[in-house]
C-alpha cells in the first residue's frame, strides 16, 4: 500500500552564476524565477554564487529557460544541473558549511 502512494521526486535546478556580487542587483534573478508558474521556491546564495529553483511537483522547466532568465537579469550561467534536494535543503547545507 505504501508503495502505491505516489510521491513526486523533488526537482531543483541548481545554477552557478557569474557576476552576482550584490543583493540589490540579484533581486532580479529571484523575481524572474518566482514569476514562473512552475516554481515552488527559490534560494539565492550570494557568497557561493548559486541560485536554486525548486519546481512544483510534476512541473518541468528547461535549463535553457533558466539560463535565458538569468541572462535577462544581467548575469552569466557557468554551470546548471538538476538535483534532488529542495531549495531549503540546499540553504541548510550551505549555512552549515559557513
Amino acid at each position: 500500500m505504501i508503495s502505491g502512494i505516489a510521491q513526486a521526486a523533488i526537482q531543483t535546478i541548481k545554477v552557478e552564476v557569474n557576476g552576482m556580487v550584490c543583493a540589490f542587483c540579484a533581486q532580479g534573478i529571484e523575481k524572474k524565477m518566482r514569476s514562473l508558474t512552475q516554481t515552488q521556491d527559490v534560494y539565492v546564495d550570494l557568497k557561493n554564487k548559486v541560485v536554486a529553483v525548486q519546481l512544483k511537483d510534476g512541473q518541468k522547466l528547461s535549463h535553457d529557460t533558466v539560463k535565458d532568465l538569468i541572462k535577462d537579469a544581467g548575469y552569466d550561467v557557468t554551470k546548471i544541473e538538476t538535483v534532488g534536494d529542495s531549495a531549503q535543503q540546499i540553504r541548510a547545507t550551505t549555512r552549515a558549511r559557513k
Binding site: N18, F24, C25, Q27, D72, T78
Partner: protein, 211 residues
C-alpha cells in the same frame, strides 16, 4: 520639462552600485537629495541592456545665487559587462534630452546630456567614474564624479550589507568647488540607500528602488 531632464541625468550618474537600470521589464526609481542638488528619476528596462525614462534635477550654485531646473527624457545603455565569479564590471552609456530653466535667464533652453559611466564591484569593493556633458545654448555644466568604497563584511542575500563610500564630484559653472561626501550605504535585496554629509557640511540622502 527642462528641469526634470537635468535631474534625471544627474541621478543616473550619482547612484548606481547596481548600475543605472534594473533587470529586463523592471522599473527603477532613484533619488539623490541634498540642499544644492535634488534629483529624482525613474526608468523602465526594455531589455537587459536598454532603459528609457524621465526625471527632474534641481541644481544650485555653492553661493546659492544661481539655480537650474532640468526636466528630461533619458536613455541608458549597457554597452559592455564583464561577469566573473567574484566581480562585475560595466560600461554604461547615459543620454538625456530635455528643457532647462534658470534664475539668470528667461524661458527654457534645450539641454542635451550624453555621458559615460565605468564601474567595478565585488562583494567587498566598489569603484566608479562618471562623466556627463550638460550642454545648452550658452550653458556648459559638464559633470564628473568618482566613487570608491568598501563593505564592512560579506552578507548573505537576505541580509543587509553596510558599506562606506566616498564620492568626489564637480559640475562646471555651478559648483566649481570639489564636493566630497563620505556616506554610509546600506544594501538589501529590497532597497539601496546612502546617507552622508559633504565637505560643506550639507546632508545628502540617496536611494534606489526596483519594482
Amino acid at each position: 520639462m527642462l528641469r526634470v531632464a537635468a535631474t534625471l541625468l544627474v541621478a543616473t550618474q550619482g547612484l548606481a552600485q547596481a548600475g543605472p537600470m534594473g533587470f529586463k521589464d523592471s522599473w527603477m526609481a532613484m533619488g539623490d537629495l541634498s540642499p544644492n542638488w535634488r534629483e529624482v528619476w525613474v526608468n523602465y528596462a526594455l531589455t537587459s541592456r536598454d532603459a528609457v525614462g524621465g526625471g527632474l534635477l534641481y541644481m544650485r550654485s555653492d553661493d546659492k545665487t544661481k539655480s537650474r531646473m532640468l526636466t528630461e527624457a533619458t536613455y541608458t545603455r549597457l554597452l559592455k559587462r564583464w561577469n566573473t565569479k567574484e566581480s562585475q564590471a560595466n560600461v554604461w552609456l547615459l543620454g538625456g534630452i530635455g528643457a532647462v530653466e534658470g534664475n539668470d535667464f528667461s524661458g527654457s533652453k534645450l539641454m542635451w546630456s550624453p555621458g559615460v559611466q565605468l564601474d567595478y564591484e565585488t562583494t567587498r569593493i566598489y569603484v566608479s567614474a562618471t562623466t556627463r556633458l550638460f550642454r545648452a545654448s550658452g550653458l556648459n555644466h559638464d559633470y564628473a564624479s568618482v566613487r570608491a568604497g568598501f563593505s564592512f563584511f560579506e552578507a548573505d542575500y537576505d541580509e543587509t550589507q553596510p558599506w562606506f563610500i566616498v564620492e568626489a564630484r564637480r559640475m562646471r559653472g555651478l559648483s566649481d568647488k570639489l564636493e566630497i561626501t563620505p556616506m554610509l550605504r546600506l544594501i538589501n535585496k529590497g532597497y539601496f540607500i546612502e546617507a552622508g554629509v559633504n565637505n560643506s557640511r550639507q546632508w545628502r540622502f540617496n536611494f534606489m528602488y526596483i519594482f
